[in-house]
Assembly symmetry: C2
Homo-oligomer: 352 residues x 2
DNA sequence: TTGTAAGCGTTATCAT
DNA sequence: ATGATAACGCTTACAA
């Protein structure tokens, strides 16, 4: 009973048709008479054949139906970010029409040689998430293979299509909002400045070599309005990291800003907690802004004043770009806009 | 310049060796003299050949190096759960040694025909996450193809290896802990009872047809100690869902339990918020227990009394099981144990 | 509507 | 250490 698996040729033979006909029955690419189709299906059932082997099909077709999604962090950490989760949903939706699956690839995690999985994996295209300079090797490997690439929130060179956000302008809007409320003394909580960075104040030197585009651009946005706003870098985009930053920023009662601009909603949530710890009432004693416009689980009753970004749309756009590239179309880079959303965490500064 | 991609045959010819030798240079499966290796590598570089085509290799090898991970929810929703995220990390680690990637598959999401992606995807094995009866078709499709399957937290029949948790016993431990503290009046917040379920009290009728194993088993664990504990089903494992449930449970001051057992840490976090809303002090006025032992972002300064489950280990075990099955080894089901962890959210009932 | 035939690019086996 | 050969299982022009 240890006979090998039936192939489409076996099915064809049993059904008394040619292999090509049997193939067509399964792919549906060409009309087949009902009678033959039924005979083929019956033969398949009899032999326990459950459709073409995807490996063989993909060799012949030159397509595997798989899109690689490349992260620079452990999966669990990446998915901590609600924006990434929404993006994945959009991506999954967008590639569903071509029946593609998403293959998770981690780059630069201990134990994986650079680009190895990228060259061994049968992917038709790749989406790089948050492309920093460290991804250069991965990128080179992909190009060498002629695999279409799209980058989300990052820069991979002129000829790689990007899906980005108006980070600087968006953050500037929030800063302007605070200024129009009368705030003059604000502080910033930034996202990590490097792939792995310690928490701490950002001096001019550190500022110079921020390698994470999003972080730099959003910081620039604040500085457009408040050129001297002090900034504290968090180690991650999380509530806990925001709490740490918030504590640092609110530590000295003599030198306390009247508003904090956090570079993500999660960080903002952490700042809110830090404020609570200090006995500060938001927004009366302190205004706090976020960024992303995601549902932060457990944030109620606060509604953050924030910039809502179309995270799912970004994923969808990346997916659509990939689909287009597989169809040999040129695809342009796209930059999405965030929209200002006022919540109940901002107000004029105390005593105004 | 639109010439087709170089193949290993081209490289071999250029290097003046046979295709098999060239192949071996890349796979390293057989010793090759340094001289020839270098010639092959040079030829490859000259032709812009960057290694064997994974599609062809996987046909020949009969392996694609891809493990499917099957979810029953939109990706974004699944990854909301910290336990799932940890599990993914463990899974990724465990399959890394065989250089396998993880292919995300969603089952039963609008637009995907049942089992379609499972039969089209070139996967060597599959991990079903949270296998409910609704996954029967997916399972059948996999078996028909002879693809090894492992199930995490679910039941797929006797001959499918499972990775599970001692849910009932673990939950019973927490209930016992509360009883030993003197609580007699407790309520439960459960995980969803069905794949999609509305929030609400669980009456005997609803109790009967809970299709989610985890939910049922943990509820059984409480009822082992408190046979009449009322239970309120949440719609998801999230802080917000826990908040809703907590509000319902704490609504009536006359009928207020002195302790709430939540079936996940996230739900427990929500209950904590509900308690705060009502002006109740935890643990003085109300004890709250969680389940999972994960870091709930933003939960500080609380430390939940909970059962810590080895989530990463579960993922790793599933990955190792898959690797073993691919090596034609039999693998047993494994059931992990949770360990009791006391935090600062439980105490004797008020006035005792 | 169905059949014929020619690969898709690689690797395992077996000689040499 | 290297080479010749034969699959791996399928799809798709093209012909009938």
């Amino acid at each position: 009973m240890s006979t090998r698996r039936a192939t489409i040729a076996d099915v064809a033979r049993t059904a008394g048709v040619s292999p090509s006909t049997a193939s067509v029955v399964f792919s549906g690419k060409t009309p087949v008479s009902d009678a033959t189709r039924q005979r083929v299906l019956d033969a398949a059932a009899a032999l326990g054949y459950s459709g073409p082997d995807p490996r063989a099909a993909s060799l012949r077709r030159g397509r595997s139906g798989i899109v690689g999604v490349v992260f620079q962090a452990p999966l669990g950490a990446a998915f901590l970010d609600p924006v990434i989760r929404l993006m994945m949903d959009g991506l999954a939706d967008a590639v569903a029409p071509i029946d593609a699956g998403l293959l998770l690839l981690r780059e630069g995690v201990a134990g994986d040689s650079p680009g190895a999985s990228l060259t061994t994996a049968p992917i038709d295209a790749a989406v790089l998430v948050g492309c920093t300079p460290g991804m250069a090797e991965s990128l080179a490997a992909l190009r060498a293979r002629g695999i279409p690439v799209v980058v989300i929130e990052g820069d991979a060179g002129a000829d790689v299509p990007r899906v980005t956000l108006d980070n600087r302008e968006a953050q500037r809007s929030l800063a302007s909002h605070l200024r129009s409320l009368g705030h003059t003394d604000v502080a910033v909580v930034t996202l990590p400045t490097h792939r792995r960075s310690d928490p701490g104040w950002i001096d001019e030197r550190r500022r110079q070599d921020i390698t994470v585009d999003v972080t730099r651009h959003r910081l620039d946005g604040v500085r457009d309005v408040y050129p001297d706003a002090p900034a504290y870098a968090a180690t991650a985009s999380s509530i806990d990291a925001g709490l740490v930053a918030g504590r640092a920023i609110l530590a000295d009662p003599q030198h306390r800003p009247t508003a904090v601009l956090a570079q993500s909603d999660l960080l903002a949530a952490g700042v809110l907690r830090a404020a609570e710890e200090r006995g500060l009432v938001v927004p009366d004693d302190l205004s706090v802004t976020g960024f992303d416009g995601v549902d932060v689980d457990g944030l109620a009753p606060y509604r953050l004043t924030t910039m809502a970004q179309p995270a799912t749309e970004k994923g969808r756009a990346a997916g659509e770009a990939v689909v287009a590239m597989l169809g040999h179309h040129d695809v342009p880079s796209v930059c999405f806009s965030s929209v200002f959303r006022e919540g109940n965490t901002t107000a004029p500064p105390p005593g105004s």
